[in-house]
Point group: C2
Chain length 763, copies 2
């Protein structure tokens, strides 16, 4: 363990093929005889499909297959509620819903054939807001649901009594919109059925085993007849966990034709087909004691899942309770309702509902701190839950660097200095804002398991092959696994190869979600590497006639330190492990299941083995003429437990920060009558380099006892505080509080006008 590989910034092990342009994304895969598919989507938010005439499409030269909802398996699929079919059958429930698919010799022919499909629709009433959907007497989008996709209530302590004891109470309603995941690589799949009838799907996915289960369900065939291989994946951000249906359509077509089929979304199709985040309206009432201690919280949430519920109910669940666990609070109440509407379905997104509560909560805390005359950072510090404590929902906080994050942030942004006086000149006013957040590292919700299994094989040259089915979508999982393995075995990083997840050969894993991979599979690889090391040392000790504990591994050799001659190469020992009586290759399987529990029926229980914390401070400049808000400085302190790869942690933090800036200021899916009007990167304005300051981040290492080397998740926490930090900074700059996202120039100007009018009225 002499060479510090863990903790050293390391370029990603997948970097070379990517920078050379040779990484194989699903859309790059070319198979002999491969055909190309395109999907016809509904132009209506809600309609009955009266008839579909595919004759002209089928007659187009080069078209090999045209299918509609009548052709797909009758079985419905869905992560919880079984609501969807591979193609819509009888009714469409949102604009963009998949109605028919064409397979042809080229994408161009398939696209042309789509134009030849005649679909006769009978429009049905469209419910385009939760209010409309939940109104009494509204028609049901799914029979028997009263348009409620999910509902939950939590109450702990005595909320009303606690409010009565508060020195300051503030209530307000926040509107939060849906954010498109915006990965570089849209949904893409290639599928082929082999001569034995087995189906292989190369997918852009965050979880090959969940993809396989989804395929088995939707295609109504056993999982063992399906193989899912993760192609190089260009970002997921939650949308590629379990809700995508690109792979289902592609696989269905390939199995029907017994020829390889490629289905790659263009950007508009991806805007229409991928799940964006869950829009929510949150009414929050929060009460603090005079010393800043949070005494009571009451929340009402209306979430909108759109036409199908997917994971949106789980997202709302997070919004309703996760943020409670970062504070030492006792009296909390949440009531959350999720409405079906005829908008496109919404679902999992980086942060997984955390930001939908951290925005209201952090805005509230700054408001209430102001009301009490306390510094908001002090309010956070005072309420921050401590290591060893159990939260109001039964979460065991095994480590927290929250106080350190807050202190670091305060220093980095020069908080005290900047808060002291008005800043900026003329119409360009500056302000600072702060927010803090927590996230889980792992989550025991998908069945009573939050585990991972690693296979570690030592080749005859002493190098290592690692096999997992946790997915690297660019976040650096493979690098992290390689680092831990190399560190434990005392070998160079380049001597570890992590294989692409493949359901045929890899062990069952849940995949990359809930910021679980570092802590869960990091622990699994730690165990595997230690077991392999023990095997190597035991055999080397036997060969060298020494005790295993005398041996070290370094520079490709196993040796007794300072005893020249008392050594063997790793390759020799790896070979000897095979070539002897009763030998076999070193091929270790190790599993780790988090020491957590499923929450009970009342949502109580420690679901995550660790929790990451972050604090963010931003400085903004608000142009009081135009209303434009510009983030001119941002600092995020991220308590990831231990940065296995600081470079990757900083990269994740930067990305999350930018995604939060996008949600807060720029990105906005625009609909008219349920139709997306800006499904392209020209009109859906993600933040570009000119909209982002030089981002600053630092890491707090709280060293979680459950984490490998103390590490926790580092992929999602940093997206959570951004919106509130910016809104708080806008308030600090110009005195207006925007509680509806995105914070557009129009809203800022309107608020400034209202403020001026109010001031004039009081003057």
């Amino acid at each position: 363990m002499s060479r510090a590989i863990v903790g050293t910034s390391t370029p990603q092990v997948t970097a070379r093929e990517k920078v050379m342009g040779r990484a194989q994304y699903a859309g790059d895969i070319k198979l002999p005889g491969m055909l190309h598919a395109k999907v016809l989507r509904s132009p209506h938010p809600h309609a009955r499909i009266v008839r579909i005439d595919t004759a002209a499409a089928r007659a187009l030269p080069g078209v090999k297959l045209v299918v509609t909802g009548h052709d797909v398996p009758a079985r419905h699929w869905g992560p919880h509620r079984k609501e969807q079919r591979i193609l819509a059958c009888g009714v469409v429930r949102h604009v963009g819903e998949e109605v028919a698919a064409v397979v042809a010799l080229s994408e161009e022919i398939a696209r042309d054939a789509l134009d030849l499909i005649r679909v006769e629709y009978e429009a049905l009433p469209a419910l385009l807001t939760p209010a409309a959907a939940l109104a009494g007497g509204a028609p049901e989008i799914h029979a028997g649901t009263r348009n409620i996709g999910h509902e939950m209530r939590i109450e702990r302590g005595d909320v009303e009594a606690a409010f009565a004891a508060c020195a300051a109470v503030y209530e307000a309603t926040y509107e939060m919109h849906s954010q498109y995941p915006g990965y570089l690589e849209p949904m893409a799949s290639v599928a082929a059925q082999d001569g034995n009838g087995r189906l292989t799907v190369w997918a852009s996915t965050q979880s090959v085993f969940l993809a396989r289960a989804r395929l088995a369900e939707a295609l109504d065939r056993p999982v063992s007849t399906i193989r899912v291989v993760q192609a190089t994946t260009g970002g997921g951000f939650g949308a590629k966990i379990v809700e995508e249906n690109n792979s289902l359509i592609c696989a269905f077509l390939a199995s029907r034709l017994e020829r390889p089929v490629r289905l790659v979304n263009n950007r508009l199709e991806d805007f229409q087909g991928a799940r964006a985040s869950v829009p929510m309206q949150v009414w929050l009432r929060l009460g603090l004691a005079a010393d800043g201690v949070i005494l009571a919280k009451d929340v009402r949430i209306t979430a909108e899942c759109g036409a199908y519920s997917g994971l949106a109910g789980d997202v709302m669940h997070v919004t309703a309770m996760r943020s409670d666990n970062m504070h030492r609070v006792h009296n909390v109440r949440s009531h959350a309702v999720m409405a079906y509407t005829n908008n496109p379905p919404r679902g999992a997104f980086r942060g997984f509902g955390g930001q939908q509560m951290q925005f209201p909560l952090n805005c509230h805390l700054t408001v209430l701190a102001g009301m009490l005359g306390i510094d908001p950072i002090e309010v956070h510090r005072r309420n921050a839950i401590g290591a060893g404590e159990t939260s109001v929902h039964g979460w065991k906080i095994s480590s927290t660097g929250m106080a350190e994050c807050l202190d670091m942030t305060r220093r980095a942004i020069r908080w005290d200095e900047k808060r002291a006086a008005p800043r900026g000149t003329g119409t360009r006013r500056r302000g600072v804002g702060i927010a803090a957040a927590m996230h889980v590292s792992g989550n025991r919700t998908l069945g009573n398991w939050d585990g991972s299994t690693i296979l570690l094989k030592i080749n005859e040259d002493g190098r290592v092959m690692l096999q997992t089915s946790e997915c690297d979508m660019g976040q650096g999982a493979n690098t992290m696994l390689s680092q831990i393995c190399a560190q434990e075995l005392g070998i160079p990083l380049a001597h570890v190869t992590v294989m692409a997840p493949d359901t045929d050969t890899a062990p069952f894993c849940l995949g990359s979600l809930a910021s679980r991979v570092t802590i869960i599979s990091g622990n699994a690889v730690l165990r595997a590497a230690r077991e392999a090391r023990q095997k190597l040392l035991a055999l080397a000790a036997e060969k060298l006639g020494v005790e295993a504990r005398q041996l070290v591994i370094a520079d490709g050799r196993i040796a007794v330190p300072d005893q020249p001659g008392q050594s063997a190469t790793l390759a020799e020992i790896a070979r000897l492990h095979i070539f002897r009586h009763g030998g076999e290759g070193i091929h270790v399987r190790a599993s780790y299941d988090a020491p957590t529990v499923m929450h009970d029926a009342d949502y109580y229980g420690n679901v995550a083995p660790a929790h990451s914390f972050a604090a963010q401070a931003v400085e903004v400049e608000v142009d009081t003429c135009t209303g434009q808000v510009t983030v001119i400085d941002s600092f995020v302190a991220d308590d990831c437990g231990k940065a296995i790869n600081p470079l990757a942690v900083h990269g994740q933090t930067h990305g999350a920060t930018v995604q939060a800036i996008g949600w807060t200021l720029y990105e906005h899916l625009q609909y008219e009558d349920g139709r997306l009007m800006n499904g392209n990167f020209a009109d859906y304005t993600m933040p570009t380099a000119d909209a982002v300051p030089m981002l600053r981040t630092d890491v707090v290492e709280s060293n979680d006892p459950n984490g490998p080397y103390g590490a926790k998740g580092a992929s999602e926490t940093a997206i959570l505080p951004g919106a509130a930090a910016i809104a708080n900074a806008v308030f600090d700059a110009v005195g207006v509080r925007i509680q509806s996202l995105p914070i557009t120039p129009e809203k800022v100007l309107a608020a400034l006008r209202a403020l001026k009018e109010e001031e004039a009225a009081h003057a």
Copy 2:
């Protein structure tokens, strides 16, 4: 275990894709941007390469790369002696040796480019027979070798004293020629180096790990940078174990270009490039007591490996001693010398040298039986080693069905009736002949290990994925493994999938050689399946609140018999094994290493865990006008221990019988000045349907204690007795003994003429 899957004739699990024409042989693989290679071969048996001008070839449009021996790694490769380079450098040692390679956009362009390469050779003296090579003063083909590729001497007991005690002694010299493996699929490879610099080779191979080791050696790079995947393989017969260099050339070209390259031998190239069997001259002196007991054996062998030794020394080793182990003999002596010549290199071939001694030995035994007036079958029976005995070379005979094989053969061919009287009419004379043989099942020679490891994974639907790197080349390994797994787990055969061997993910195995797969990996899969079954039953017992021993697995359920309701589906238990505290998927690794030893320096030691035995009787018709020999009946009794899949055993036996008929009567590689003159299937006459009688086989099940269900190898034994059985039958029919293979009409006619002259001389 109620349904007998083991022991039931089963179509091969790979059959569907093959009969549909959809199996992917290496030559079928198409990768994006794939280029095509062709190889320029030496026209000289021995020459110095003065210069190579590739300018015109490189200038041909569509040519991407031209390489010669100057471009390949300097490191030499070879299974034992490191003699070869990827392309010849400086000197060529046989006609057909690889001198240059071209990569182009198409095979046609590559072929055209070969014609544009100008090679200036300076001819060197060619040594085309062992006699010439071993003559004093002959130039050395490899410096320092005296043209001896291998030499061995064995002597046990007191051979001379034993001969002195014999009632009958016979000595003769036998000439045996080289046989081309004649698989349907020639050598073929596709190779591609990915963006991370790792090389993948899809190969037609009998051993992916030996292929990887060979690639690493020849390309001078670590094994971990190379992945070998077995494509569907259309026969190997020994030539695809470790001596092929098609994959080396292909992989070198792909790594140089960083583009996929395909190299597929056409039939002539394969005749030139693949190793045929080792030709040998065997002088045999054998002495029997009056009661038929073999008392003494003396053997001198001259083998010819050609220009490179490869595995030919191991083959000669088998010829020199393996047949001794089938009899209860005590006094044996062998001296074997293998000569380098400037003929193409020879090597491993089904039977692995066994037939080169079984032909002489079985001819001798019939001759000596005649001299003693004993039925030759009786001589075999009297000398056959018994179960529980240890042979003269230390081999432990754990089971033998030899006597039963002989008895069965005697009955099947109606031996006693047919031997009683001359048969046939006019110029068409009939005769019967018998021979017997043994073969190893496994062989502890490749390092001190003869093991196998299986990975067995149970999917969430209760079905099974098996991973091994033993290769199915058509012989049925995957079916055998599936049967044992299904039998042990109580699941349908169709619920087992065996994955293609892949060095990245599969456990290290030696591959398909030495008839080792059934006994070695059969035992490994037995262990794996039992461990998996135990895991399933233990968890089901816990869930159902019963004892594991009360449970049975049948029809996809684990149940207490006759207790409705006391059951769970396999799928439920497989899922529960994951989804619980501390859970993980059932993913079992099991290894088996044969209970054998490496032979010592004196070639003594029990190298195989079991031995298969076979006896064959044939009836031939000899046309005394033309000399043509026709096999009109053949019966083989094969002691394979236990026929896991009788259909496959019969198929193997049929194939081996035909291959023996081919070697004995038809196939003959014809050379002129070291140049092959009949490298095609029109002129190299393998037996076609009209040359083969309706073959009859039966199985003897001697139930080996080391075998899974008692099974031993069943792929090679049946090739061993054919030549002697035919030669003995020819003698029985027309009274001439042909001791030089093949038994051509010319040789028969010449012998008949000589016999007639001799009879006339005595008349």
